[in-house]
């Protein structure tokens, strides 16, 4: 799609008002309850059918940026995929697999947190205590500040510390240790000490009915804590590769696992040891008309939105102008939220001229605000529309309101159409 055609669409396309929005939601609800036959192209993509997921061995082994870490690092096989195997795993199994490798290869590695010896609330540590011993995989008392501080001490001695905070909502009692101690350890000791071997894993984002303290996405709160890295995987392959990279990265990493994906995201995952790069975004769908940027769970809402845009079901068709349906949207997974991949995002926006950012945290001073500010200052003259954010409401996550607070595919679609038609 070229700029002139969008400009003409802009005149043709009616701005979606809030009432249109609610009509859209109604349309979608009808669709999902089966009140209407499925569209010709089949059902909308869901996490189960997502094309983002690598469900074949071939696709998994060709994951972009994959770096194999075989026992024999100099082996000529290192970058080949022949002979490598994959296994079907969901996200929690992939996380477990990564920790299994870390524990097996690194005698100093320990895994600890509330109830982790029993597998943890989300089963990410299932069987690790039995396999590696209770002195390496152990339950801690209920004390998040203590867990973080303890992990910092262990890591400062050069040991690999893999801590779990049971829900990312409980990371706030540990906030001081992470922001004041972990992030600044290297700096304030003039480089004599560091806690690069600390990784804090924590389940994050919403599941639809978690309410106030089980639905938050706290990544934005850490944005000012230089020294830390914040990583959010979208799938099992990503979780394994990014977690292994996080564990071995010479900086402390907070690894936020989207909890709704633990079971629902399933891929073929290479069984070997491999890493995926931190600090690098990944283009999942290349495009030229608009950059759609997100991380974690909303990637799947974005995928759904793109399919609604290209092939709207009958109930939505009148609201989706023909001229917009062929728009080529570039879908990017940011993956590392801190430090975020400015270069890749700017490069994409320079080409597309349009940016929509989606996140589950609330709007004010969310990660999207930082990205939008940076993009407008670096790509101002290339922008064809204001940078648009789709985020949660600026309210706490009220239990019964969760579905109205967290953005979904319809909100993404609406923002994409408006930005295209600006």
């Amino acid at each position: 799609m070229t700029a002139p055609s969008i400009a003409s669409t802009a005149r043709a396309a009616k701005r979606l008002s809030p009432s249109t929005l609610s009509r859209l939601s109604v349309a979608r609800r009808c669709n999902s309850t089966g009140a209407e036959p499925p569209p010709a192209g089949g059902h909308l993509p869901s996490i189960a059918t997502s094309k983002i997921l690598r469900t074949t061995r071939e696709a998994a082994l060709r994951t972009p940026g994959i770096k194999w870490l075989d026992e024999d690092g100099n082996s000529p096989l290192q970058n080949t995929i022949g002979g490598r195997e994959t296994r079907k795993m969901n996200l929690y199994q992939a996380v477990r697999d990564a920790m299994g490798i870390a524990l097996a290869k690194d005698d100093t590695a320990i895994v600890f947190g509330e109830d982790v010896a029993f597998g943890g609330v989300f089963r990410c540590t299932m069987g690790l205590a039995e396999e590696f011993g209770r002195e390496r995989v152990f339950n801690t008392p209920l004390s998040e500040q203590g867990i973080a501080g303890f992990g910092i001490g262990v890591a400062s001695m050069g040991q690999t510390a893999i801590a779990e905070i049971q829900f990312s909502d409980y990371i706030f009692p540990a906030f001081d240790q992470l922001v004041n101690e972990a992030a600044k350890f290297r700096y304030r000791s003039g480089g004599q000490f560091n806690v690069g071997r600390l990784t804090v894993r924590t389940p994050s984002m919403s599941v639809g009915h978690g309410g106030l303290y089980h639905s938050q996405s706290p990544e934005g709160f850490f944005m000012g804590a230089s020294g830390l890295k914040i990583v959010v995987p979208r799938s099992p392959v990503q979780a394994k590769g990014l977690l292994l990279a996080s564990i071995r990265d010479p900086n402390p990493v907070i690894f936020m696992e989207p909890k709704i994906l633990y079971r629902s995201a399933v891929e073929q995952v290479p069984i070997d040891d491999f890493e995926l790069p931190l600090g690098r975004a990944e283009v999942l769908v290349p495009g030229a008309d608009l950059t759609l940027l997100t991380w974690g769970t909303p990637l799947y809402h974005c995928e759904t939105a793109l399919s609604l845009l290209a092939e709207p079901p009958a109930s939505l068709a009148p609201l989706v102008p023909e001229a917009l349906r062929g728009a080529r949207i570039e879908l990017i997974d940011l993956r590392t939220v801190l430090p975020w991949d400015v270069e890749s995002v700017i490069e994409s926006v320079q080409r597309t001229g349009r940016l929509v950012i989606v996140h589950e945290a609330s709007r004010t001073a969310g990660v999207g605000a930082e990205i939008a500010a940076e993009v407008q200052s670096r790509a101002f003259l290339k922008l064809l529309a204001p940078v648009r954010r789709v985020t949660a409401w600026d309210t706490p996550v009220g239990l019964q309101f969760e579905k109205f607070i967290i953005p979904d595919a319809i909100h993404v679609l609406d923002a994409v159409m408006e930005t295209l038609a600006f």
Binding site: L21, D115, P141, G146, L212, Y213, R363, L399, F401, A415
Partner: protein, 398 residues
């Protein structure tokens, strides 16, 4: 009627008595002895003697084992405990039929703590606890419909459906708090205000054996002792924090001794007469200006930690079964009551009817109003001009 005395013969291991803490607390619910015959009249007090291992004390004297009760008060205890259990069972059923979503923590097995506490305090006293809060919310001035409605996320819910199971409040009950341990220093602050405002009342800040290891619990202890606050720190030790047993989480499982210079009482939390007596003692202690007190209830939760936990992976079915069949607070009390020839069937039936009615009322209540989404964030009239929603068009203008 004095046949109550036949129920348990008392054994006195005198030699062991000399060693502090060598004896362990017992948690049966039916070992109280009658010391006189029971008066006909329901409101005439009579004295019973609690089992000698009902309390242990740290740096203070234990509460008296002689307790004055009335037939009416015991019947009331029974009725309230039965109703609370029925309410929790109703929540369980509503959850299983998928009408309640999200998190839900039941207090089945722990009724003697909440009901015993409420029976020994006044409406000027304040209570704050963690997420296992449904009975407290009702007893402290809420309604069963209000609690079930909150679990269902309906308008009749006591937090307008915003809070859910873990966040229920009344003017005398500061919740229902989902962040484990966070409620304890809040309790110290409430007690400070009571003292500052010269109200002769106490704050009861409750937490679990698991929560007892949060740093802020110790911070609260120190502040309360330093400033001599009328705060009772109540540890509901049900022996597990999620899947982790007390022994695995706490270097010192004698929770009543963990206050350093703050004295403590450990009480049988399965016997409502003992728990009510302990609370009375604690309340008198702090109101007399003695500063804070630790009060540990040894109790047990029959169900899993929350609805997704079957509760049998980290403890044996036999252990749960044994507690249910031998130490149940409701059955224990029922046994005394029936000894006097007072039938409990009518009470049971009335409790069931009350709960059934509340369930229907709660279910009939509509979902919350849209405007509740953005109210109660800031004080009305002082909020920002608008609250921003998911995208640009979605804005609430105050």
């Amino acid at each position: 009627m004095s046949s109550l005395a036949r129920l348990r013969s008392r054994v006195l291991p005198t030699a062991r008595q000399l060693v502090p803490f060598a004896r362990s607390l017992q948690t049966s619910a039916d070992t109280t002895l009658l010391t006189q015959s029971i008066p006909e009249d329901g409101s005439t007090p009579f004295t019973v003697k609690l089992h000698e291992d009902s309390f242990r004390a740290y740096n203070t004297d234990a509460p008296s084992l002689d307790v004055e009760v009335t037939k009416d008060s015991l019947l009331k205890h029974y009725q309230t405990m039965v109703t609370m259990r029925r309410m929790e069972q109703a929540a369980d059923a509503l959850y299983k039929s998928k009408l309640i979503r999200g998190f839900c923590h039941l207090a089945i097995g722990q009724e003697a703590v909440s009901v015993g506490l409420e029976s020994s305090i006044t409406k000027d006293d304040m209570v704050i606890t963690a997420y296992r809060c449904h009975p407290f919310a009702v007893l402290r001035g809420g309604t069963i419909t209000g609690v079930l409605g909150e679990l269902l996320g309906r308008q009749v819910g006591m937090s307008n459906g915003k809070g859910g199971s873990m966040h229920i409040f009344t003017p005398r009950f500061f919740g229902g708090n989902g962040i484990v341990g966070a409620q304890v220093p809040v309790g110290a602050g409430i007690a400070f205000a009571q003292k500052y405002l010269e109200r002769p009342s106490a704050t009861f800040a409750l937490y679990g054996d698991g929560a007892s290891n949060q740093g802020q619990v110790f911070e609260a202890f120190n502040m309360a002792k330093l400033w001599n606050l009328p705060c009772v720190f109540v540890c509901e030790n049900n022996k597990y924090g999620m899947g982790t047993s007390a022994q695995r989480s706490s270097s010192n499982t004698e929770y009543f001794t963990r206050g350093d210079k703050i004295p403590g009482i450990q009480a049988n939390g399965m016997d409502i007469i003992a728990s009510a007596q302990a609370v009375k003692y604690a309340r008198d202690w702090v109101i007399a200006g003695n500063g804070p007190l630790l009060l540990e209830f040894v109790t047990y939760r029959y169900g899993g930690h929350s609805m997704s936990d079957p509760g049998t992976t980290y403890r044996t079915r036999e252990e749960v079964q044994r507690m249910r069949s031998t130490q149940d607070p409701i059955r224990g009390l029922q046994r005394y009551i029936e000894e006097w020839g007072v039938a409990t069937d009518a009470i049971d039936k009335a409790a069931k009817e009350e709960i059934d009615k509340a369930v229907e009322q709660a279910k009939a209540s509509p979902e919350p109003r849209a405007e509740d989404l953005w109210t109660d964030i800031y004080y009305k009239g002082t909020e920002p001009p608008l609250m921003r929603g998911r995208e640009r068009d979605e804005v609430h203008v105050y």
